[in-house]
């Protein structure tokens, strides 16, 4: 299968190893991967800030860049939700609505793609350590991804997976919310950090580098040793 990658802007710039890991995993499974060089951002920051006209212009660029793709895989539940759930809303009543709906139907989050589309739950990965998992809210509630990453992680040799308590609570990142209301965002993040530390895990794994950027930032400031990793990095650790 020819797979078109969408590597979100902040992964491209801050966490390229996540993108590299995605490529390694997909290629290991025997698929051809392409990366349209014209891609930039999905437009979510403008959309969430209420500036839909600006978001539409950025999203229109993405619609054009990915027009020819068969399937689009992105290592982010948040950007994936933007394309799948919110593009059709964003373009409602505009000439590009059909194009947006077509693209929405082709978008997969990385773990969802592996499990649901490819039917793969064990890619032969090994990674030693105790880890816990953070559900990014957009992946969880907008895209409905709950079991897929857990199925993949359970099959990683040497990895001990402990669930967070409470599970499925927002980490407080929320895009521009993190800087518009930094104290609320940080308070929410502190609760998340407490839950992470309580598991005794060495690693916090997630489908969203954006949540991890926020949580890692807090953990480091608190002098905690827990390391945040994207699921793809864990799956590609021995590749």
């Amino acid at each position: 299968m020819k797979i078109t990658l969408f590597i979100p802007c902040f992964i491209d710039q801050f966490y390229p190893e996540v993108g590299v890991s995605v490529v390694k995993v997909l290629e290991k499974l025997g698929h051809e991967v392409e990366y349209p060089a014209g891609q930039t951002c999905c437009g979510q920051p403008a959309f969430n800030s209420g500036l839909w006209a600006e978001a539409r212009e950025v999203a229109a660029h993405a619609l054009d860049v990915f027009e020819g793709a068969d399937v689009i895989v992105t290592p982010s539940g948040s950007c994936g939700a933007m394309m799948r759930v919110f593009y059709p809303k964003l373009f409602e009543g505009t000439p590009r609505h059909q194009q947006a709906c077509r693209l929405a139907a082709k978008v997969y989050e990385f773990s969802e793609f592996l499990v649901k589309k490819l039917g793969v739950t064990d890619i032969g990965a090994s990674f030693s350590g105790r880890a816990t998992f953070h559900d990014g809210c957009h992946g969880l509630r907008e895209m409905g991804i709950r079991d897929e990453p857990r199925q993949l992680l359970k099959n990683v040799r040497g990895l001990e997976l402990v669930e967070l308590d409470p599970p499925e609570v927002c980490c407080g990142f929320g895009g521009t919310f993190a800087v518009k209301y930094p104290m609320i965002s940080s308070a929410m993040g502190e609760s998340k950090c407490e839950a992470v530390v309580a598991t005794g895990a060495d690693y916090l794994i997630s489908l969203d580098s954006s949540c991890l950027m926020h949580i890692q930032g807090l953990l480091e400031k608190q002098g905690r040793k827990v390391r945040c990793l994207h699921l793809a990095e864990v799956l590609a650790a021995n590749l």
Binding site: D12, F14, C170, G174, F177, Y181, S185
Partner: protein, 467 residues
């Protein structure tokens, strides 16, 4: 920034920093979650019940004119006086007039957020009436001269010690901290008040159109006394609080109790159909029903957000909201806290004055997921943001996102911009955390991520030079 927004920011920042408060609310709501899930499990299918409830509300709200007429015709036929209040002022004035006409002096109330919305207590007290809240939580916050902290649990933010303190200070009560002893103090006082009151004011949980009755849900029995003992009963009801039939009510009562309080059913569920009829031995002599619009028809006119009128005020969205759980109910500074409040307050009180509420959300969607009547709360927050920006574009955001748009539409400019940012990051280290730092809202509590030495696209290009 609007005045409400400034106050909100100050309060939210203060409460968010109160770790003790956070843990207390967290503990209380974890208890609620366990009970809620237990009672959800008693439904044959909670998911089906939600769908059915949403369908009932969809039908009622989309034919509100028809059901309101049916409801009013039926309740008037039994002697109730119905007053249509287009806003809070009209509602207050009508109720004041009823009190004056009947020479009422002492007014007792059962829990009602709608009366909070129209600031009824203040109006009655200013006019010289004595007003007494009979719901235990409401009674406590009234003594503390605070608004309710939560639409269902008005005093959930208080410790036993704080309740004991206010009882000692305001009621000269003995210094006890045992919940039962504290309740007995309130009960002794309340029983006297119930006997004295000449007017009782209640809210309404559901209006049943086919029978023309109002349904009130409670756990303390105080609403029954409020509505039955005084000679006048005034019920205040938002126009959206209708269901079609008793069959609908059979679905909604357990849903409200489960979602709202983690109960199978609340202890008392009572239907009231009007004043005492000829030959009946008890009940109020007069029964007034105030039907309140106060901005609800504006939501009705908004086809995108009309489902916000499905709300049964169960408070479930507050309980799961991580923002609410961190800043608490008082930080909002409005009657309806949490996600539903951030959706409807801009409609009820003005979008530009209250647009900060929809923006103060991480859009996690826990509210939408939990809502028993299927209101798309998280997406309505996004729509409120969009509508606020359309009404009055915020200058700073406009400038920032103009730049963002340019950068993201032109891949070469994106590459160039990111390259520049990478070069400038070492300079940011010099000012990080100082007053000059534009990233201070982030860096104050969090480390900043570092630009990678080589971006993903650079890695890809090096690997696939022909692409």
């Amino acid at each position: 920034m609007s005045t409400s927004a400034q106050i909100f920011r100050q309060n939210a920042t203060r409460w968010a920093g109160d770790v003790e408060h956070r843990h207390r609310i967290e503990k209380a709501l974890r208890g609620y979650e366990i009970k809620r899930d237990e009672y959800k499990g008693r439904f044959q299918s909670w998911a089906e019940a939600r769908r059915a409830a949403a369908a009932v509300k969809f039908e009622v709200i989309n034919h509100l004119d028809k059901y309101l007429e049916q409801f009013v015709k039926n309740i008037e036929a039994r002697g109730a006086k119905v007053f249509w209040a287009s806003d809070a002022r009209e509602a207050r004035e009508y109720i004041l007039q009823v009190a004056r006409d009947n020479k009422a002096q002492f007014i007792i109330k059962s829990k009602s957020m709608t009366t909070e919305e129209i600031h009824l207590n203040e109006a009655l007290q200013e006019a010289g009436f004595e007003v007494f809240e009979s719901d235990l939580g409401e009674f406590i916050v009234q003594l503390r001269e605070e608004p309710p902290y939560h639409i269902v649990f008005p005093a959930m933010h208080l410790t036993r010690g704080q309740i004991s303190d206010v009882f000692q200070k305001k009621l000269q009560a003995e210094p006890v901290q045992d919940p039962e002893a504290l309740t007995m103090i309130a009960r002794r006082l309340m029983r006297q008040k119930f006997c004295r009151a000449d007017m009782g004011i209640s809210g309404v949980n559901f209006g049943v159109a086919e029978t023309g009755m109002i349904s009130i849900t409670e756990n303390e029995g105080n609403a029954r006394l409020t509505t039955a003992l005084p000679r006048i009963h005034v019920a205040v009801m938002g126009i959206e609080k209708l269901v079609r039939s008793m069959d609908d009510l059979a679905l909604f009562l357990p849903m409200l109790a489960t979602a709202g309080a983690g109960q199978h059913l609340t202890c008392y569920n009572t239907l009231y159909g009007g004043p005492r009829l000829a030959g009946e031995s008890d009940g109020p002599v007069q029964f007034h029903l105030v039907l309140l619009d106060n901005g609800r028809t504006r939501i009705l006119a908004d086809s995108e957000q009309r489902d916000a009128l499905h709300c049964i005020r169960c408070g479930a969205c507050l309980n799961v909201c991580p923002i609410f759980r961190n800043i608490g109910g008082h930080a909002y500074g409005v009657t309806y806290q949490g996600p539903i409040g951030s959706v409807i307050t801009p409609h009820l009180r003005g979008l530009l004055e209250y647009k900060h509420l929809p923006f103060a959300s991480s859009l996690c969607g826990a509210c939408t997921e939990t809502c028993p009547v299927g209101i798309d709360l998280a997406h309505h927050l996004l729509q409120n943001r969009r509508n606020a920006v359309a009404q009055k574009p915020p200058l700073l955001d406009k400038i920032l996102f103009f730049g963002f748009k340019l950068l993201m539409k032109k891949p070469w400019l994106y590459r160039f911009g990111m390259g520049m940012a990478r070069l400038l990051q070492p300079l940011h280290e010099l000012i990080k955390g100082t007053a000059l730092d534009p990233m201070r809202p982030w860096t104050k509590t969090r480390q900043t991520p570092k630009f990678a030495r080589k971006s993903f696209r650079a890695w890809w290009q090096a690997r696939n030079p022909q692409s």
